[in-house]
C-alpha cells in the first residue's frame, strides 16, 4: 500500500484532508480536518478585561490586529462606552491596513505562485521566490504593498506585529500630522500596485476557468457586516445573510445577538467547530464569510474604483451571487483597492488627528460582544466578566471557522473532479491545496492554535481501508 505524504503549504496552521471512496470507486465524501487544539477560550478566564485585546492578539501572528480590534470592541461593550469618533476612525484605519497587508500576503506571497506558475509547476518553484524569478516586478510589488499595510499598523500601534494600541474605550495613541502625511505619501504607489494586480487577475481569469468551476463552486449562504446603508463594511454596521441568488435572507441582524442565528456544531474528527445559520439547521445552514461573502452581501462598495471593479465582479454571475470560492482571490484584490480608497478618505478627514481618542470607564456590563470583519471574515469575541472586570467566560468565533463547512465541501468537489482511481496524483494534491488556500484559512486562528504541521491527504476505500496517504517533501 503506498504511503505518500503531502503538506498543504502556504496556509497558516495544521490540517489533514481525508477522501473516502464508495463501492463504485467514486468519491463519496471528503473531509478537511483541523488537527490541533489550543484552548485560548479557557486560559483567558481569570484575567482582567483590560488585558484581553493584547492577550487575544497573541492568537495569531498574521492577524493580531483583527483580534486586537475585535477584543477592544467587546471590551468597549463591557465598559458600556461609546468611544470617541476619532478613535473609531483610527481603529478603522488600522483594520484597513490589516486588510491590505493580509490580502497582499495571501495573493502575492501565497496564491499567485499557483495562479501564475501553474498548478503543475514544480513545487520547489511554486513559492514567492519562484514568483520573483518568473516576474520580478510583480513579486516586489507584492512585498511593497504588504509593507504599506504593515507600515500603517506600525505607525499607529508602534510595531508591526502585536501592537497593544487598541484598548478598552478607544486607542492609546493619536495619529500625528507627520505620521498621517507619511502614510498619505505612500498611498499612490500602493493603489497603483493594487490596480495592476487586479488587471492582471482579470486578464488571466479565463485561463483558470476549470479551477473556478470546481474549486468550491456551489450554492451557499454568505454572511458579512454591511453598513446601515447597505454598503461594504469592515468595522461597524449589522449582519446580513444573502443566498446564492443574492437574495437577502436576513438583514439588520444585531451582531451582539449572534447566538440567536449562528449555531456551532461539533464533529469528532476536527478540533474546528462548524458554525451554521440556525434557521436553516445543520449542515444545511452552511455559509461563507470573507472577501467573497462581503462583496456578495453588500449593495455597493462605496468608493469609485472598487465599485467599478465590483460591477465587473458581479457580471460573473449576473444578478446572482458569485458562488465560486476560487474568486475569493478576485474579491480580495477588489477589497485591497477599496481599502486603499477608504484609507485615503480617512486620512483626509480632519478629525483623524484629534487628540481625544479614549473613553475611560469601569465595568458597566457583565457581558460584551465585539464583532468586526477580519481579512478572512467576520470575527466574534464574546466575553463575560464578574463585577470587578475579571473574565469568567469567553467564546470566540473566528473567520476560518465560519468557512469550515464550505472548505469541506470544496475539498470534496475538487476530489470528485480531479481524483482518478485510487492514486493521489500531484495534480490533485496541488489543487486540493489551492482550493483550501483560496479561503486563505488561518487554521492557527480557527482553533486558536499554534505550530507547524503539514497538511496531509489520506484516501480511504469503501470499507475504511487506507488506500493512499501523501505528505509532500516528508
Amino acid at each position: 500500500m503506498p504511503h505518500l505524504h503531502i503538506p498543504v503549504t502556504r496556509v497558516e496552521g495544521h490540517g489533514l484532508i481525508t477522501v473516502h471512496l464508495g463501492e463504485d470507486g467514486r468519491v463519496q465524501e471528503a473531509r478537511f480536518h483541523v488537527t490541533e487544539v489550543r484552548g485560548f477560550e479557557r486560559f483567558c478566564v481569570g484575567r482582567t478585561l483590560w488585558e484581553m485585546p493584547a492577550l487575544t492578539a497573541r492568537i495569531c501572528g498574521i492577524c493580531p490586529v483583527s483580534h486586537l480590534l475585535c477584543s477592544a470592541k467587546a471590551c468597549d461593550a463591557l465598559l458600556a462606552v461609546r468611544i470617541p469618533s476619532a478613535a473609531e476612525k483610527l481603529r478603522r484605519l488600522m483594520n484597513l491596513g490589516q486588510i491590505v497587508q493580509s490580502h497582499a500576503l495571501s495573493f502575492f506571497h501565497l496564491s499567485s505562485p499557483d495562479l501564475l506558475l501553474g498548478w503543475d509547476a514544480d513545487p520547489k518553484d511554486r513559492n514567492v521566490f519562484g514568483l520573483a524569478a518568473f516576474d520580478r516586478k510583480l513579486a516586489l510589488d507584492g512585498i511593497r504593498l504588504r509593507a504599506f499595510g504593515q507600515e500603517i499598523i506600525e505607525i499607529l500601534g508602534g510595531k508591526r506585529v502585536h501592537p497593544a494600541w487598541a484598548v478598552p474605550g478607544g486607542v492609546n495613541q493619536p495619529l500625528s500630522e507627520e505620521s498621517r502625511d507619511r502614510i498619505a505619501a505612500k498611498l499612490p504607489e500602493a493603489l497603483r500596485i493594487a490596480q495592476d494586480a487586479l488587471s492582471l487577475y482579470e486578464e488571466r481569469m479565463g485561463s483558470w476557468a476549470e479551477e473556478a468551476e470546481h474549486f468550491g463552486k456551489f450554492p451557499s449562504l454568505f454572511m458579512s457586516l454591511v453598513a446601515p446603508d447597505g454598503s461594504w463594511e469592515h468595522y461597524g454596521g449589522h449582519i446580513r445573510f444573502v443566498d446564492a441568488n443574492r437574495r437577502i435572507v436576513a438583514d439588520g441582524l444585531d451582531p451582539r445577538r449572534y447566538q440567536e442565528y449562528i449555531g456551532e456544531a461539533v464533529e469528532t474528527w476536527s478540533y474546528l467547530k462548524f458554525p451554521y445559520y440556525k434557521p436553516y439547521g445543520y449542515p444545511e445552514g452552511m455559509y461563507r464569510v470573507g472577501p467573497l461573502a462581503r462583496l456578495n452581501c453588500c449593495d455597493r462598495f462605496g468608493t469609485k474604483l472598487a465599485d467599478e471593479a465590483l460591477g465587473r465582479f458581479r457580471a460573473l454571475a449576473g444578478e446572482k451571487a458569485v458562488t465560486a470560492s476560487f474568486h475569493y482571490h478576485y474579491a480580495r484584490l477588489i477589497e485591497i483597492v477599496g481599502a486603499l480608497e477608504k484609507i485615503q478618505e480617512l486620512l483626509s478627514h480632519p478629525e483623524i488627528l484629534s487628540l481625544r481618542v479614549r473613553a475611560e470607564a469601569g465595568v458597566n456590563e457583565l457581558e460584551g460582544v465585539g464583532v468586526h470583519e477580519a481579512p478572512r471574515g467576520t470575527l466574534f469575541h464574546h466575553y463575560f466578566v464578574d463585577e470587578t472586570g475579571v473574565i469568567r467566560r469567553v467564546n470566540l468565533i473566528v473567520s476560518t471557522g465560519h468557512n469550515n463547512l464550505a472548505m469541506n465541501r470544496t475539498v470534496a468537489q475538487i476530489a470528485q473532479h480531479w481524483l482518478n482511481g485510487r492514486e493521489i496524483t500531484e495534480g490533485l494534491l496541488n489543487r486540493l491545496e489551492g482550493g483550501i488556500r483560496a479561503y486563505d484559512p488561518c487554521l492557527s486562528c480557527s482553533v486558536h492554535a499554534v505550530g507547524q504541521m503539514p497538511l496531509r491527504v489520506v484516501l480511504f476505500g469503501p470499507d475504511g481501508e487506507l488506500l493512499a496517504e501523501r505528505t509532500r517533501g516528508a
Partner: protein, 233 residues
Amino acid sequence: MITLTIDGVRVQAEEGETVLEVAKKAGVRIPTLCYLEGLSPRGACRLCLVEVRNWGGRLVPSCATPVQEGMDVVANSPRLKELRRTILEMLFAERNHICAFCVSNGHCELQDLAMELGMDHVRLPYRWPLLPLDLSHAKYGLDHNRCVLCGRCVEACSEVEGAMTLGFSGRGVFTLVEADLGDPWGKSPTCTGCGKCVQGCPTGALFEKGKATSEQVKRPQILAEVTERRPRA
C-alpha cells in the same frame, strides 16, 4: 570612617552604611529587586548577594549587611552571576510571569533584571499555579500571578503610609500579599487608597485599574521622595 574593598577597589564608608549603598557610591552595579530606597532593607529576594572573601567566601545580602572594617567584598563574579540568574529563574518559575500582555510589559524591574542577567530561558520546571486576581478595589488591582513577594508594597503601606493594610498570609511559595485579614482589598477599612504600594511594586502584580497592556509606568522613587520631604520633629 571604615575602609573596605569592593571588587578589588578600596573604598571608604560611614559607619552604619550597607555594602549596597557603598557599592552604589563607588559606581559598582549590584542587581536588586526587593530593595527600594526609602524602605527598610529586607533581604528577601537575595539577588543582591555578594561574597565576602575574608569571611570564608560567605554570601551575604548586600542591601542588609552593614559595612565592616577590612571587608573584602566580591560584587561581581561568574559564581555570583550564576547564583543571581538561578534566583531569577526561580522567581519566574514560581508564578505566571507572562510579559506579552502584562500591564507592566516594558516597564518592569523583573523583566529588566532578566535582560540584565542574560536570562534567555528558565532551566527549572514552571509551577503554573492557578492564582486569582483581586480587582475589588476601586482604583487598583492585585494579580498574585505576577507577584514576587518582595514585600515592597507591604513596607510602603506600613512604613511610608502608615496604614498597615497589606501583609503576608501563608508560607513559602503559597505566600500571598493580602489586605487586612484576607478580605477583598476593596472592602478594606484600613486602606487609604494612596497607591504607594502600586508605585513601589516592581512588577505588574499591583497596578492602576484601567491600564491596558504595557501602559503601567510606575514611580518607585516616589517613596524615598515623600519620606525625604516629610517634616521631621
